[in-house]
């Protein structure tokens, strides 16, 4: 049965009164992840907004067992949890690594790559708010071209985002998927599927960040949707090398594959205040090319 707003499990593993900012997409993504796992998991979290969300000792807002671990070590920490559980013969618990884009694309890539190459049995979710938001928005390997940040303050970032999902796919792991916090049911389905697969699974979740991206707190869902509708974010999954478009990206493809122009997405966020028309054109071409590639690759259209 496909997940819908009515049949979603009611129990909450993220408690109200946590420390996330208003309009935080990470909490939305995390909430549906834990629902999909029905709380039967041990989480490892590196330094990130998720650490802040988890609370301050002795009070935690998250009702699953969790290990906080240093920034660079998430993949290794997940490995250690799996190895420890296996050594003790404890079964039926999903090991979940939940890290931001800085902790995944940048400082954590080594330990994640090592763990994936060893094919350890855990689910890694990268929530991508496209910058070091926990430290007040500095540029990361996932900050988009043209975005102003604490460390690209005048000109905006001059490089493209690192395609972490493609890097993870190249590890030959059994399941790779992209999600958006604006499509929580798609995320829920993918986590549920990933739970049943053995080996390293990687899910990338686009999580718009109002204070970092400079848009109103009430518009998180809107910006997540715009990213998908413009093709800046493509929702897909790759299971055993079979590429499928999913959710809104699949619908877009089925309806003729016409994307919204990216211009409005950039013009309505404060972080792109210095983006040039040339950069927007360049990004539009980049989006078009990638979308074409995805349409060609999709096996389910």
């Amino acid at each position: 049965m496909k997940a819908n707003a009515v049949n979603l499990i009611e129990k909450e593993w993220i408690l109200p009164g946590n420390r996330t900012c208003p309009g935080c997409a990470l909490s939305l993504a995390y909430r549906h992840t834990l629902k999909a796992l029905e709380g039967q998991c041990i989480v490892t979290v590196p330094a990130s907004c998720a650490t802040v969300m988890h609370g301050m000792y002795p009070i935690s807002a998250v009702n699953v067992p969790c290990v906080n671990t240093p920034f660079a070590s998430t993949g290794a920490s997940a490995t250690g949890l799996v190895a420890g559980l296996r050594a003790l013969g404890r079964k039926g618990i999903t090991v979940l690594a939940f890290a931001g884009d800085g902790g995944t694309h940048d400082i954590g890539i080594q330990s994640l790559s090592g763990a994936a190459e060893r094919q350890y049995d855990f689910l890694y979710i990268c929530y991508d708010n496209e910058g070091y938001m926990n430290t007040g928005n500095q540029r990361s390997g996932s900050t988009p071209l043209g975005a102003v940040s604490g460390t690209t303050p005048v000109l905006g970032k001059q490089q493209y985002q690192k395609d972490m999902t493609a890097i993870m796919e190249a590890h030959g792991i059994p399941y790779v998927a992209t999600c958006s916090a604006s499509y929580p049911l798609d995320l829920y389905e993918k986590v549920k599927k990933a739970k049943t697969i053995e080996g390293t699974r990687f899910i990338h979740v686009h999580t718009p960040c109002p204070p970092g991206w400079l848009f109103p707190f009430s518009d998180t869902i809107k910006f997540g949707e715009m990213a998908v509708e413009t093709g800046l974010v493509v929702l897909y999954e790759i299971e055993d090398n079979i590429f499928r478009l999913t959710a809104a990206s699949e619908s877009l493809a089925r309806k003729g594959g016409n994307l919204q122009p990216v211009r409005e997405y950039f013009k309505s966020q404060g972080r792109f205040k210095t983006i040039t028309e040339e950069q927007i054109d360049e990004l539009q071409q980049w989006v078009n090319a990638r979308w074409k590639h995805c349409l060609n690759r999709a096996t389910n259209l």
Partner: protein, 406 residues
């Protein structure tokens, strides 16, 4: 008095001794990354796991930082974890060493002592482990390969009693690659000595707990109205655990003697020190060399003895004072240096003696860095030089002397 038991002597190098000790300790997760001179130890452990002699998860990690991260997380879920490294590997682990101790995880690590770059050098000194002095780990140094085997087994017993990780340090090549006779204990005896590991917290979805959460400086009230520790209190408890661990370390050594017939009930060991006027202090295999030097000095009528440091953290201040009470001159040889100051063990000795009735002169020599050979003859010459320096002044010099060609 040693217990009568059948000996089981094998000719082993230090790395083999450490690997066999880890196996006898029934470690459940091993995570290690190869680095000279530790490499044969990790190869041996992976061999034990692959041929079924050791029922453990062997994780061939992609870095030492990850090795310790695997160990911390495996230890948190309740598995007995082991790793080993040297030099740059230990330096790369530095962040995780703080986490292992801060989270009170009884991990045991073999540190095969090697010099640090730049420039590259793969040979022995103790700069690597001394540089990790303040990470909250217990540090024990071995003088020979029997020590290595026995100390790894004791380390688990100590670590799991006080919930503090233990670093078992031994000199690269001098011990790691040198074969000596080693008595291998019976598994059944080790099992009797070392009960299974009981973690202080469990990670269970049905009783969720959040480990290493952000903790404020001040105590904070929980949802149940109970006042819980702040960061500062947690740090105090780690210090207290190390302070109190001395007793546990002595007991572990005493109990080891009762079962295996080898005594480790002292935090350091002494040779020829009963009537010594001059005490040579050294740590690790260098202390064995110092015995030869003491004998040579005695042949010349100089009453020299040796204090071989074993436990460096916690530092056994009172015991050291007691052992040095008759010494007129203390000559400390360090295979490490705190740049701009002096050798680390010299600082410890000075600190232990300050404010006591002992006012022996102290002379510090830096020796053996980057594998520079240290001959007993050189220790003798340095000691004689220290003796004649007393004619000029008893005041301790500001800086150590180096036994090198400058």
């Amino acid at each position: 008095m040693a217990v009568q038991r059948k000996s089981n002597i094998h000719i082993l190098d230090g790395n083999q001794a450490a690997a066999i000790a880890a196996k006898l300790s029934r470690v459940q997760v091993v995570a290690a990354y190869p680095i000279t001179p530790q490499t044969p130890l990790t190869e041996q452990l992976s061999q034990f796991v692959e041929d079924g002699q050791l029922k453990a998860e062997y994780v061939a990690v992609e870095s030492e930082h990850s090795a310790m991260a695997v160990c911390t997380s495996a230890s948190i879920v309740g598995a007995r974890a082991f790793t080993a490294t040297s030099s740059h590997g230990l330096a790369y682990m530095h962040e995780m060493l703080h986490w292992a101790a801060g989270a009170r995880l009884p991990i045991v690590m073999a540190c095969v002592n090697r010099a640090l770059g730049a420039p590259w050098n793969v040979l022995n000194d103790q700069q690597d482990s001394i540089s990790q002095r303040d990470t909250g780990w217990i540090q024990i140094y071995c003088r020979n390969n029997q020590d290595i085997l026995d100390t790894v087994i004791q380390a688990y017993r100590i670590a799991e009693k006080v919930y503090v990780p233990v670093m078992v340090c031994y000199d690269g090549y001098i011990l790691s690659h040198t074969e000596m006779p080693v008595d291998i204990p019976e598994q059944v005896d080790v099992d009797r000595y070392l009960p299974p590991y009981k973690p202080h917290t469990t990670l269970d979805p049905d009783n969720p707990k959040n480990y290493n959460l952000v903790t404020l400086a001040n105590p904070r009230i929980g949802v149940d109205g109970k006042l819980c520790h702040g960061y500062m209190e947690l740090r105090y408890l780690l210090q207290e655990a190390l302070q109190n661990s001395a007793e546990v370390i002595r007991d572990a050594g005493k109990e080891f003697n009762a079962i295996f017939g080898r005594d480790y009930s002292n935090m350091f060991w002494e040779e020829r020190n009963e009537d010594a006027e001059i005490t040579i202090v050294a740590m690790g295999s260098l202390a064995s060399e110092a015995i030869v030097a003491a004998d040579m000095l005695r042949e010349e009528g100089i009453k020299a003895g040796v204090l071989g440091l074993r436990v460096f953290r916690p530092f056994p201040k009172q015991d050291v004072v007691q052992a040095l009470r008759k010494s007129r001159l203390i000559v400390v040889f360090d295979k490490n240096v705190s740049y701009g100051s002096e050798g680390a063990t010299c600082s410890e000795i000075k600190s232990a003696l300050y404010g006591t009735y002992i006012n022996a002169a102290i002379r510090n020599f830096i020796v053996g860095l980057g594998g520079r050979d240290v001959k007993a003859r050189e220790l003798v010459e340095a000691t004689k030089k220290a003796i004649s320096s007393l004619k000029e002044t008893v005041t301790n010099p500001d800086y150590p002397e180096w036994i090198c060609h400058i």
